[in-house]
Amino acid sequence: MEKEKLFLNEGANSTAAVPIWNPCSFGMEMQSNKLNCCSDQLPNCFFNPNWDSSMDQSDPFASALSSIVSSPVTTSNAIPSSGGVGDPVMIRELIGRLGNICNSGETSYINNNSSTNTSCYSTPLNSPPKLNISIMDSQIMGNLPILGNGIPDHPSLAPFLADPGFAERAARYSCFGSRNLASNESELSHRLMPRLEPGKLQRVSSNPSEKATGPQANVNVDGNSNSDKKFSRLSRSSTPENAEFGDSRDESSVSEQIPGGKLSMKGLNDSNSRKRKAITKGKAKETPSSSLSASDSKVVAEMDESKAKRSKSKEINGDEKDSTKVNEEENSNQKQNKDNSKPPEPLKDYIHVRARRGQATDSHSLAERVRREKISERMKFLQDLVPGCNKVTGKAVMLDEIINYVQSLQRQVEFLSMKLATVNPRMDISMEALLSKDPLSFPYGYRSQQGIALPNGMFSNGETQFSTNPLNAVLKRNQCMQLPALDGFGDAPRQVSTFWEDDLQSVVQMGFGQNQLQQPQAFHADSNMPGAQMKVEL
């Protein structure tokens, strides 16, 4: 990598091809075998400047690189014959490297691109900076698992190459570990973004995304103060990508709208935080996240938003604690941003906690605050559930009420079930019939006044002879038993059938038939108690 960087730097400045490779003499021998793995014609093609018709420079290395790169794709290209090459070993090594990293898509791009050469290597096809840029791109892309399709949008790379300083920047970006990104690389970030965009990167390693967004912030490893300023420029709204960022927690995802500046730093933050899982590593997390911060990137902000808006998203998060702690660390590091008021964000997957003005901002107190808010929220909900708790204020009293209510409900269940158990069950057949049908009608049928009549009949069993008088008493006691006066026995089944399914109706009519035989007197005597006739004996 360093070799390439050196190459790029010098390539941009000098015009001599050969001297560049002098420093790059390390580790070449090991690459030679890779070189051998390339096509057999590679050693020959190093120094052929005429592999492409447009090539007019006799720059051996550039042509060699071009040919190496394009050889997998374009077999039709004539193998360049070597001209005067300074150091075959170094070149071989570099070519081997390039051969490893360049994919076919890239090579095809390289072949097609004939943009102006801004470097000393004036081959129209691919100046070494361009090659290196593409190499850098391929390196970057190689790290991105989803970019198996290569560079789908080749023209998007054109702006990259047009940048004179791109070579230098690309060289810098080749160093993934580096986090010191100059501010002048901001344009590069924009240019990288269109490149990243077509790939629809779902998963990127943290480094490329750093590069993509880092240039905005001239951030050093411990440049938290810078990050604060950067975050202050971050706009709020959580993007829809954040939802998917929340999903792909292992890797940060770069949104398609990176050119619009919507890189979700938070996604990366959370992925980092989840990886590290240590609250105390806030600084460590800060640096990659700060390097991500782009002034024009909309960071789904832990530092944005008032808490009231955040509270809505609280329940969604399954990883509340982790993200909360991450957010709190962010907040603690970026407390200067609390004066920024943000528009409400759409609900995210995890909580964003923001340090309020004048309040403690360490992670513990923030977590505590979030917890307290959750608890108070649930207490309010419970207040609605428990009757008569509207005026109660305070957690202790509220809890007392809740406890009393739960106890009373449980005792009620126990009492009612005991009562139910003591009742002589009459419902075997009818219950089964009911269960076979819609069970919903069973409870609701009780509430209707007319429907009450039938269940009485259904529940009656064969062995008991119900006298009408006790039944009347019972029926009179129950206000819901105010059945409309049924004129005739014939009306009862008709009314009943309106409330019950037809299958049950047959049962009822059977029972009614029996009842009619048994208690004709009751029927005539108590016209206002049609329920008595309903007491069929099944």
Partner: protein, 171 residues
């Protein structure tokens, strides 16, 4: 209202119908299994059976979605296993949510904070009342308590109705 509590699992109709179906089925089974008790001991047993049936049918109606329902089902099943040599015929498989268990263990350390916040007696009482409440932090405990209260209300209503109908039929 809390949007979190608007989730669809507490559709009153479905919960009620499920509970009613389960409860009626279990009642029928109870009635079939044992004749109507005459002695008080049998009556107590029967009462206990009915109560257990009510609880179990409610917990089954809720399913495994809630900690308290799972805890209740586990308790009932363990009780049944402990008592009878044979397993109850229709024991449903309850999958213990490992995540919940782990959460419960992790939240033990938060219980001290909870108690300090809300009063030791009250939180411990609530934990005892709500099944499965022992291993939850206050936040989740309140959540579960809310859902439990809702379901208890439904249960009370249904049993009340069933009891009323039966009592009407009896006299």
């Amino acid at each position: 209202m809390n949007p979190h509590h608007h989730s669809s699992y507490l559709n009153p109709n479905s919960l009620k119908s499920r509970f009613t179906k389960n409860f009626l089925r279990s009642l029928i089974k109870i009635n079939k299994q044992t004749p109507f008790p005459c002695r008080p001991t049998e009556m107590f047993q029967r009462c206990h059976k009915v109560k257990t049936a009510a609880d179990k049918s409610l917990a089954c109606a809720v399913g495994s979605r809630r900690v308290w329902s799972r805890a209740m089902l586990c308790k009932i099943r363990n009780r049944a296993l402990r008592r009878g040599p044979q397993k109850p015929p229709s024991v449903r498989r309850i999958i213990i949510n490992n995540r919940t268990m782990k959460k419960g263990f992790n939240c033990l350390k938060e219980k001290m904070n909870d108690d300090q916040e809300a009063g030791i007696d009250q939180t411990s009482k609530l934990r005892k009342l709500v099944p499965g409440g022992e291993a939850m932090d206050l936040c989740n405990l309140l959540d579960e308590a809310a859902h439990y209260i809702k379901c208890l209300n439904t249960q009370v209503q249904e049993i009340h109705d069933a009891e009323r109908i039966e009592s009407l039929g009896k006299d």
